[in-house]
Amino acid sequence: MTDKQSDGIYHDVASPFCGIASDDLVVEVNGNTVTVKENGDPVTRHGFETPLTDLSPRIKGQEVSLEEAVSHIVALLKNSKQPLIGGMGTDLNGARAAMALADISRATIDSQFSDAAFRNILVLQDSGYMTTTLTEVRNRVDLLLVVGSDIESAYPRFYERILWPQESMFGQEIESREIIYLGKKPSGDASTSPAGRKAEVIECDDADLPEVMSVLRALVNGKKVQAESVGGIAAADLAGIAEKLKAARYSVITWSGSQLNYDHAEVTIQNICEMIKEINQTTRSNGLPLGGKEGDTTVNAVSSWQSGYPMRTSFSRNMPDYDPYMNRGQRMLDEGEVDLLLWVSSFNTDGTPPKTDATTIVLGRSGMTFEQEPEVFIPVGVPGIDHVGRTFRCDSAVSVPLKKLRDSGLPSTYEVLTAVEQAL
């Protein structure tokens, strides 16, 4: 599985740091230093190249052994009336261990990315959707509509890998692919075709997106619209998009849950998804929700198969109880309902825990810095760097293996959480 060569070069390395999980990276490893040599981008370089610093666990800022740190966590959990397992920046086995621990410790479990993820999950649970996956888009898309999102800032290689391959499987002229931005304009030129054709950009404020999407859906359904403009967009322009969606053979509508960052954005997404179903009465169209970095998709998947529910599930009644509002981790912290926060964030030193009065345990990436030193800090290995792992891509259908690139000696989140669970 590991295509290591004698010079410390690894090929076909998958990145867990971005939701499209590119797996064609070439990485050089020299001791504990990792360098992305080929196919890197700002997101993956930051992910792989963040240097290793801390190697020892700490209690109240004092270095301790891993065993001591684990024992202390066990004692804290035993005395906790309402633990919250948060962050959840981890891989498959880290998620499995966190679920097992939540179950035995009667904790509530939530992820740092849930606000965005639930904009899609709530739609799934209310009305469902039609979606597609990255390889399908790469070979079939003829019209890409980007709603309210600047893709390249979070997914720098999306266009290169998905929209502008050398060739499509079905003889489509790649240059003929049409891209329309509705809402935010792109921050760069990644969406410009290899021959220089620029995306069409129809801007509006986030606040106007709910109305704009409603009108677009109405137009797709052949309804008459009285207004001449909506959210600053000419109704005729929206009618133009509607016609293109109906004429396209395989349109794809994409959005980033984290960038549709306003109250009840799930309703906008629901309108997109229902519109897609309606377009499919005559031609093919699909959604492509982007998200899923740093274990986001993975932890929701594992939680669903182990408990029946995604994140925001509580085990306080000794059985899973799901409530996307009550079990929102930040709400529980804000309301002072949590006395112990176990924060898992193994991918990103920026993924620090929220400020809270609750006693805080952090299983974090080496190099993490804190405004307030947590009660316990255990630097854990990064899945895909310090140990093998598996992570799901944003489209949920695909998961990729993560390689071990170096011997840092850091424990995995799975090892730490399993040790805690066993001791309970």
Binding site: G128, T131, G308, S396
Partner: protein
């Protein structure tokens, strides 16, 4: 440690043993001969009890993307069946789409010791195995799904020879860690991506100019020539479409004698007669099955109540989506391989169509003569959750119960069936054949499904209760690999079963076009597509059992 089960009434169809009092000895997870020195460590008195090998569910959607979409989608369905954590068991929930842990516990409590996920998309196989890894006690395995994947259709469009296709099939089975090969709406899932809305057996995919009939022939030949024990597992064209019995009859003829397993045949046995233009085709289908010895089927019985349908057949699921109950559904196109559709559904006994579906399933069970060639399934959860098996067994074994149920259903549907006139009642031996010996033989599980010396000690002990639903709901004992996991219907121990796979030989030359295909068109590298043995073993709880190929298997 030698355990003796003393005095049970053994039903072991693989050895033709029907209700014969025998002692069974277990050591190191296996059934062994009586010890020559007579020394035993533990004796369990099972006098008067019925002993069968552990049951095998050969078609149950227990792991993979679409099942997990169903779980995430249905919080309201789980909320009515929550499972508390105990000293022994993890908490869980779910009725139509239970959590993996609950799935394993419930199967074991019913005396099942193996379940096979029948629709593993190769690119999603990793996830299917992750979920099955988290399913306790039972053995598991999966059938890799081909037939709408662009790689195969490209090969067929280019008229590549059978050997190349065999190579590709063997490569796929090996690297997805599969036990068998499945095809779902052959070519149809692919055709839907080109906006075709139906695909009959001889209709061509507009892009590839390839028909479902040709796909079935190629894949069935591949499985046969490779020596994979399980015949091609076929979810045919036109699922759920009134009149599809003719497609099914054509499919049976079209395979020209090659081995073929037609799954959830109930959904493919519909006529168009009567006022409702919907009628039973079960008699004709059963007759064709009886006549064509190369054909096996499982039924996909429907039972009334809320469930969820989860299928790779997004073409048909999209067509069925207006019937979603509650009104929400998902369809996906997936990775130039296949797709999926998840549609919650409530089967109603006062619906003419649903009542007739119930009757068609039972007619099929009762009119197919040979219990070695028909298998007990609800296509969990598509026809009903697997937890309804004891009820289904009672329907098969108890004519008066069956007819009592029948008399409560939609009156027009009752007039459309001869079910009430069918006297057949399944015997315990028939049930053991269908759910044990036959299933193991069909899947090529060499050491399961029987109670001979050398078999894995997967054993279920029942009380011979006249109420067969009670009997099969709550076995006295269940042994998994020799360990007692259930006593008096209650779980007492959690174990972790193995993953059954086949590893047909392939010529490495197939990786040249595959490498090029992955590099040019895919978003995953070929090396990352492959699932290593280590991933199955994982944290040490998993294991692989490689089942032997048939004699004469070749490439």
């Amino acid at each position: 440690m030698l355990t003796k089960l003393t005095g049970g009434r053994v039903i072991d169809p693989e050895h033709g043993i029907n209700d014969v009092v025998r002692d069974i000895y277990i050591r190191d997870g296996r059934i062994v001969d009586a010890p020559s020195d007579g020394k035993i460590d533990e004796e369990i008195d099972v006098r008067g009890k019925i002993i069968m090998s552990g049951a095998i569910d050969m078609h149950t959607h227990i792991g993979g993307g679409k099942v997990n979409i169903a779980r995430t989608m249905l919080p309201e369905d789980h909320a009515e069946s929550l499972l508390e954590r105990t000293e022994l068991m993890r908490s869980g929930c779910g009725h139509a789409a239970p959590s993996t842990l609950t799935t394993g516990y419930r199967y074991a409590e019913m005396g099942y010791t193996a379940g096979f996920e029948p629709a593993v998309l190769p690119i999603n196989a990793r996830q299917a195995h992750m979920e099955m890894h988290d399913t306790p006690i039972i053995d598991k395995g999966g059938y890799a799904m081909l037939g709408s994947d662009d790689f195969l259709l490209r090969m067929m469009a280019a008229n590549e020879d059978q050997e190349a296709i065999n190579n590709y099939v063997a490569w796929t089975l090996t690297h997805t860690q599969a036990l068998g090969l499945k095809v779902v709406n052959p070519g149809g899932i692919n055709a839907f991506k080109f906006n075709q809305r139906k695909l009959d057996l001889d209709e061509k995919n507009t892009f590839y100019n390839v028909s479902p009939r040709e796909i079935l022939q190629r894949l069935s030949r591949a499985v046969t020539e490779l020596g994979v024990p399980h015949p091609l597992h076929v979810h045919g064209c036109n699922l759920g479409v009134p009149g599809n019995k003719d497609t099914t009859l054509d499919t049976i003829q079209g395979i020209e004698g090659l081995p073929m397993h037609l799954t959830h045949i109930q959904f493919h046995s519909y006529g168009t007669e009567g006022d409702f233009k919907f009628s039973s085709g079960a008699a004709e289908i059963a007759e064709a099955i009886n006549r064509n010895k190369n054909i096996t089927v499982d039924v996909g019985q429907i039972l009334f109540g809320q469930t969820v349908t989860a299928s790779g057949d997004n073409m048909r699921q999209f067509a069925g989506a207006p019937h979603a109950h509650p009104n929400k559904w998902v369809c996906m196109d997936i990775e130039c391989e296949a797709g999926c559709g998840v549609v919650p559904f409530k089967y109603k006994d006062q619906s003419f169509v649903n009542a007739l579906q119930w009757m068609i399933g039972l007619e099929t069970f009762l009119m197919v003569d040979d219990p070695w060639r028909i298998f007990l399934t609800t296509d969990h959860p598509n026809g009903a959750p697997f937890t309804s098996y004891p009820h289904l067994i009672k329907l098969l074994m108890d004519k008066s119960f069956r007819n009592d149920m029948l008399s409560t259903l939609h009156p027009e549907a009752q007039k459309a069936t001869h079910l009430a006139a069918i006297d057949r009642e399944y015997s315990l031996y028939d049930i053991a054949t269908m759910t044990r010996a036959g299933a193991a033989r069909l899947l090529g599980l060499s050491d399961r499904g029987h109670l001979g010396v050398g078999a894995a000690a997967d054993i279920t002990v029942y009380t011979d209760h006249p109420d067969r639903e009670k009997m099969f709901s709550s076995p006295d004992y269940v042994f998994k690999d020799g360990q007692m996991v259930v006593r008096n219907g209650q779980l007492i121990k959690i174990t972790w079963g193995t993953t059954h796979v086949v590893k047909p030989h392939y010529d490495a030359s197939i990786e040249k076009p595959l490498q090029s295909y992955f590099d040019k068109y895919h978003t995953v590298k070929m090396g990352n597509f492959k699932i290593s043995d280590d991933e199955i073993v994982d944290d040490g709880r998993g294991s692989l059992t490689v089942q032997p190929l048939k004699q004469g298997g070749k490439l």
